[in-house]
């Protein structure tokens, strides 16, 4: 069965930009191990030479004319920002 150490889980949480407490990490490590053990039954399928399917069939390149068209107004989008100034989203200082 898959085991996920607290350390691995911390790493995954950091990749996913999730801030989890040590107790949450332990909880999710156990649950994720169960789920991974379940999905690992796919190892019983011989997939030698099988092309991976990354989408439902029939995908094709779609062409369209390069034409100007109205878009959502920036002001309306900025309305939804939790913090903004003029026409900018505000984030914590990035460069010290």
């Amino acid at each position: 069965m898959a085991t996920i150490t607290a350390e691995t889980l911390q790493h995954i949480a950091a990749l996913a930009r999730l801030g989890l407490s040590p107790a949450q990490c332990a909880h999710y490590a156990e649950e994720c191990a169960h789920i991974l053990a379940f999905v690992e039954q796919l190892n019983g399928v011989d997939t030698t030479g099988i092309t991976p399917m990354d989408h439902a069939d029939h995908l094709e390149t779609v062409w369209r004319e390069d034409r100007l068209a109205p878009s959502t107004q920036a002001d309306a989008i900025l309305e939804g920002a939790p913090e903004r100034e003029h026409r900018f989203f505000i984030v914590p200082q990035v460069i010290a």
Binding site: L42, M53, P82
Partner: protein
């Protein structure tokens, strides 16, 4: 006559107005929604304004469609400009979209009335609707039970007649499974049939919008309006849209129906299996030919789905950063801390779990073992169906392995919850159309669904067979008690 056709007749005759009909539905929602929690937002003023416009449109005899003046609800995962979209998540608690989803725009163009947004599992992840951040939905047939998920609010609302029909979304069964649990019709169209523009993305290679209705004909009428190419979604195929009602009422003599043995037996409750087998015998009595088929990779569909869907979700949900829209944590240090705090405060446990699984299976060192492997198995599942459809026209299975379970029963066991998708997820993996129609009840009176799967882009045959079944049985006329339906 279907519910929409009946109402259209009354609207056309002038014995009913859309305003009166809408007021009636708003009153029903006020009365019954506190107990069911099917709606997250009711839009009274918005709905009445649309109803007024629909009545005016009819008075002027201008562009009247089968949906003009008909009150519908929309799962809270699709954008209706002017109403909030929360996806039943705290992270989108105060989010207002700046545009309509294409499906919504098309319903509004047809003159439909939108009553409000329906409850769901957070970001459409769940099989019971208990993962809504705003409280669970109850099953109208038995409030101690779940309505299914993730489109459980839509299913409960249609079942209890708190709207004429609803739009849901289906990634691994989220239209068909709650439709079966609530005794209504749920149609997941072929991947690419309906635009996903304005549908908040969960798993982009699997998500599809479809109608949830009181009858098969109503599903055809709504699909007619929402289907077709959309320049805003490059996966919405640019091919002609057929008349989905064209073969409703046609005989099904000669139609070949595949019965995959893998969907019966182990893992399927005996009363569900018996009821579905009775339904199959009924289809035979209507002249259909049944053919035993094999879909050998069926048992791998759920594990395959629970790698691919979380993987895509982990990428799609990266956009919730607490910067541009949605919840932003108050406490913070640097930008990384802001992301982590906003996301962990905003996402509920099931969404967190799936983001973690998805990130894990896509991470360096695990990608080939999990994600690529699942994509290869997905190919094999799709091939099983392609092979089967050389012998048969539609495939018939149970929609769910059991009836709606009791609230709380599976909440602590994510794997048990995932197994509710055992009959539905392969359809999404292969990109096929699927429909669930009511086909009976168990000893407790809980509804059972019959699932029909079709060839890609052949919703017409699917609807023909579903309609033939429905119209020659009486299950679609069964309604949950205590909601004054038909009174």
């Amino acid at each position: 006559m279907s519910r929409i056709r009946t109402l259209q007749k009354q609207l056309a005759a002038g014995t009913l107005t859309s305003v009166a009909l809408t007021e009636r539905y708003l009153a029903r929602i006020r009365e019954y929604n506190p107990g069911l929690h099917a709606y997250l937002h009711t839009a009274e003023a918005f709905a009445l304004e649309l109803a007024h416009r629909a009545d005016e449109r009819r008075r002027n005899d201008r562009d009247v469609t089968p949906l003009t003046g008909i009150p519908l609800s929309i799962k809270d995962v699709m954008h209706v400009h002017g109403l909030p979209t929360t996806c039943a998540s705290k992270i989108l608690e105060h989010f207002h979209p700046t545009y309509h989803a294409t499906t919504v725009a098309r319903l509004l163009d047809a003159g439909a009335v939108i009553l409000g947004k329906t409850n769901m599992d957070e970001f459409a992840m769940g099989a019971s609707n208990e993962h809504s951040a705003y409280g669970a939905v109850r099953n109208p047939w038995d409030p101690a039970r779940i309505p299914g998920g993730s489109s459980g609010g839509s299913a409960a609302a249609v079942s209890a007649d708190l709207c004429v029909a609803s739009l849901g979304s289906d990634t691994g069964g989220s239209i068909r499974q709650p439709a079966a649990f609530c005794g209504i019709v749920g149609l997941k169209p072929t991947y690419g049939r309906v635009s996903r523009y304005g549908l908040v993305a969960f798993a982009s290679s699997l998500d599809q919008i479809g109608p949830m209705t009181q009858s098969v004909e109503d599903a055809a009428l709504i699909l007619q309006q929402i289907a077709g190419h959309d320049p805003a979604d490059s996966t919405a195929r640019n091919i002609p849209v057929p008349d989905f009602s064209a073969r409703l009422g046609d005989e099904i003599a000669g139609v070949r129906i595949g019965i995959p043995e893998e969907y019966f037996g182990e893992g399927i409750d005996a009363p569900v299996e018996a009821t579905v087998r009775t339904a199959i015998a009924h289809l035979e009595s209507l002249g259909a030919t049944t053919v035993k088929i094999h879909l050998p990779h069926t048992r791998y569909a759920v594990p395959c789905y629970y790698i691919i869907a979380p993987a895509e979700a982990s990428a799609n949900l990266a956009r919730y950063d607490g910067v541009r829209f949605g919840h932003r944590a108050a406490a913070r240090g640097n930008l990384h801390d802001l992301y982590c705090a906003s996301r962990s405060e905003g996402f509920g446990p099931e969404v967190t779990r799936r983001i973690m699984i998805g990130t894990y299976v896509l991470s360096s060192g695990y990608y080939d073992a999990y994600y690529k492997k699942a994509q290869q198995v997905r190919t094999l599942i799709a091939r099983d169906f392609a092979e089967a459809f050389t012998q048969v026209d539609v495939i018939c299975t149970p929609t769910t392995p059991h009836v709606a379970f009791r609230a709380g029963e599976r909440l602590d066991d994510p794997l048990q919850m995932y197994l509710a998708d055992i009959c539905t997820s392969s359809c999404n993996l292969a990109g096929l159309p699927g429909i669930s129609v009511p086909c009976g009840v168990n000893a407790d009176g809980m509804p059972i669904g019959l699932q029909l799967l079709g060839r890609p882009m052949d919703e017409v045959t699917l609807l023909q067979v579903a309609y033939a079944y429905e119209q020659s049985t009486s299950w679609h006329r069964h309604h949950p008690p205590h909601y004054g339906i038909g009174a």
